[in-house]
Symmetry: C2
Subunit: 313 residues, 2 copies
């Protein structure tokens, strides 16, 4: 496993120069509310608004050389599409995005800034996967999964690595769980580079596949995707799950109302633009503040996708 430690260091060295070293902010409003010291790692200020840019950069830099001319392909409507399109543009590698036809305009526009190779498909997982396969074969492209990919996980790990390097005394880092890429990456960085930090998962009650998977010991699926935290609707992946099983002991669930309350606080009190998926971690901390009182807590923020035109408190 010391090979993994070395990997994390190498990945960081490889992608660091393309990244913004995102600031860590504190807010006395939150410290008082939670009776703890809360450190916000503001990856919403990362290029493309999310830590996924770290993942995309590392993943695209890791593809075999002969694919670099033909390009990469992914299916995503959100942050990974945005991140991969920018990273590929930066590295001058063609980038194809399979995107559900019901993707909101504001998300599509973000991707169009960097690539015009968007292929729309019917808005369901089967159509996404089928279309991706067809075009990948047709054009002989390299497929990059948005979360269930070790290079993606290693790219993500650079965020927590940076975080604990600057704040070595954190007791806990809260990470949201969607596909599982961020929490897997966070947990391996924490495992090798922190003193006594533990990773806590946060998930919407309505898409609690990771919570149930940890209990049952196998990957469970979501029956609905009915959450405002649209970045967390995806299911756990086969590469992420064993890492999460090994490193994450606790996942906390929060209701839609708790997510909205937390989003309201982040926008109106903290003055940060984040997406609802980020609000899930603060909601989990607020809900469990007794348990975490007087501790040093790190929260990773992410703000790629939020539509102000559809926001009502």
């Amino acid at each position: 496993m010391s090979g993994l430690r070395q990997n994390i260091i190498e990945v960081r060295n490889k992608i660091d120069k393309y990244l913004i070293k995102t600031p860590v902010l504190r807010f006395d409003f939150i410290d008082s509310l939670c009776n703890s010291e809360v450190y916000f790692k503001c990856e919403n200020f990362q290029h493309t608004g999310s830590f996924k840019y770290r993942a995309a950069l590392n993943a695209i830099k890791s593809i075999p050389n002969d694919f670099k001319k033909r390009g990469v392909i992914t299916h995503s409507s959100g942050n990974f599409a945005h991140a991969l399109s920018r990273a590929s543009h930066e590295l001058n590698i063609p980038c194809f995005i399979i995107m559900p036809s019901d993707t909101p305009d504001f998300k599509k526009k973000s991707v169009l800034n960097y690539t015009n190779k968007i292929i729309e498909c019917e808005p369901n997982l089967k159509a996404r996967e089928q279309n991706t396969k067809t075009i990948m074969k047709e054009k002989n492209l390299f497929f990059l999964h948005p979360s269930n990919n070790m290079d993606v996980i290693l790219g993500n790990s650079s965020c927590a690595f940076e975080f604990v390097e600057d704040y070595p005394n954190l007791d806990f880092i809260f990470s949201p769980i969607g596909g599982g890429g961020l929490i897997a990456g966070t947990s391996i960085a924490i495992d090798y580079f922190s003193k006594n930090c533990e990773v806590i998962g946060a998930e919407p009650l309505n898409v609690d596949d990771a919570y149930r998977s940890l209990i049952s010991g196998k990957i469970e699926t979501n029956k609905s995707t009915n959450t405002i935290a649209d970045g967390l609707r995806t299911n756990l992946g086969s590469i992420n799950f064993p890492i999460i099983q090994k490193n994450v002991k606790e996942i906390h669930l929060v209701s839609e109302e708790e997510i909205m309350n937390s989003l309201n606080i982040i926008l109106n009190k903290l003055k940060l633009v984040v997406e609802p998926s980020s609000a899930v971690v603060l909601a989990a901390l607020i809900k469990n503040k007794e348990k975490f009182k007087r501790k040093k807590i790190g929260l990773i923020m992410c703000g790629g996708n939020i539509d102000f035109n559809n926001l009502k408190f």
Copy 2:
């Protein structure tokens, strides 16, 4: 004038421990767009979301001792009300706020966190001033004007002082102009503590009183207050104006559309929550980017008052 230099230093020493040292952020999106180096001083992360907390702290700490038990009074619906109520709460001094009856609920709630001494009045300047006078006399309170007050100006100066201390090579700092308190404070700090920095004013076209006042040499009034930048609707004051006349050579005007475009960029691309008044400075820079290209530009952000429920792009 070296007395003023000393004052600025003393004020900073007096209020510094109550303040957040707000971060300075950069965004390559903006640097590319403007072809310059742009530094955002994020006073939206200051307590109460605005630089006015600096002003309120200094002003309230400067009142004569015998008023400290009876309290202070101001008329404001916005940032100064919020800032003064918090500063007075922090220093345990009673605080009365005269507030127009049409003040939006979200602004009122911010103030109610710190004082329940809100007195509503008819929504016009005459009623505000009349009510303030009556209650001030009745309760023997100390009146603090939100912008036209030397202690307020000196409190504001601490923001630019901090900014140029950390970024001594800035060529320009852009400041919005409403009552004139921020730009007056900024300009005196710049005058004494920067190398070659110049202060540039930014004002909505629809409330261009400062622009016209600089030309005519006397304080002009606004015929309308029809701007989304609600923090800038107030008129220049008699204490601010001579300072602005002395130190500010350029004021740039921007349309409502330019303000909204800039607010859209700040929220959606930069992931910062700011109020429309802040967007005015970025709008002025974008409009005049040819003139400022390849320069180092500082922009002071402020985010106290923004209502997401009424925001449409």
